[in-house]
Symmetry: C2
Subunit: 194 residues, 2 copies
């Protein structure tokens, strides 16, 4: 068995995913060709197929990895009161998404380019993430800490608001990430308060 240690595969594989992530985010899945991705990696198009079955699977893998990472990183501390849980969620969401603008962009924009079975899988993962916030709001509402007539709507409203940050916020500008987190937390806190 030759070429196990000095193999390029553990280098080329990640580089393909990196290039695809950046290009898909910048130009959109449908507008990016396999030859463009290969060009970024410094390889011919045919070589990509040693690492991925096809273009569709590449997109699905990028989105799945992002969603799984998101679900593994989201803080769930049932010990805290709902208000503290909500604050942690808000600050986490902004911070996590800010660190991965390309993946966020793809995860929200390329859903329509997923084959049905991949779409269902990604939607399931997204649903699980939203369920975490919804549970926090529901707990807080039952405890009387929040005034939220419909936790499902409030969940979607809060997530839409928070995710919007990635469309305009860039580090090094007028505001720090901390500033943004502070102000969004303030707005969210008030919007669900009794």
């Amino acid at each position: 068995m030759a070429r196990t240690t000095g193999s390029h595969s553990d280098i080329t594989g990640p580089r393909i995913r990196d290039a695809a992530l950046r290009l898909f985010a910048r130009h959109g899945y449908a507008a990016v060709s396999m030859r463009q991705i290969a060009g970024e990696v410094g390889v011919q198009a045919g070589a990509l197929y040693n690492y991925i079955p096809d273009k569709q699977s590449l997109l699905a893998e990028l989105m799945r990895d992002h969603m799984v990472e998101l679900l593994e990183a989201v803080p769930v501390s049932a010990a805290d009161v709902p208000l503290a849980q909500l604050e942690a969620f808000v600050r986490f969401h902004i911070g996590f998404h800010h660190a991965r603008p390309d993946a966020v962009f793809i995860a929200y924009m390329e859903l329509r380019n997923l084959a049905p079975e991949n779409f269902a899988e990604i939607e399931d993962l997204r649903g699980r993430y939203e369920a975490i916030l919804e549970q926090i709001l529901r707990d807080g509402a039952e405890a009387g800490a929040f005034d939220v007539p419909d936790p499902k709507i409030a969940t979607l409203a809060v997530i839409a608001m928070l995710t919007g940050v990635t469309t305009w916020f860039r580090a090094g500008g007028r505001l720090s990430l901390q500033d943004v987190q502070d102000q969004y937390w303030d707005m969210v806190r008030k919007s669900v308060s009794a």
Copy 2:
């Protein structure tokens, strides 16, 4: 001069825009071919070029029309107090966007597929719309009616939250448009309140 009254052009033209709007929203600009659009209209691809210079101009026109319509319809009543202006804006935004899900989808997702000069134009229109909300928030903050440390951020937060409605709300479901407007207005009002 023949073929002026019975001409097809006043029928085919709008049908091309309708078909393109629907297809671009459903599959994305890059994934839709001119032949698909022509097929929906019931015409050959070449005939499209009697009505549009090229595919890019078609996209730009759809987005421009939507933004212009939005700017013409947004209520600006300087006579009202900021709180009433804000309520009118929130209800208008949800209602207007709900009535045009395809146009909204395109206006937010296809910016990256615009040629630079078209992009600049659309961004300018969007900026004018955001400026209207920002002014309301600024006025309210100065008058002491709102507690909004940074009106620019608050503007983006509110618009992101409101626009999110179009991604999930469909008439005939559990909630009426009125219900949604009521709950969103409640959240927005609280989020900017002192």
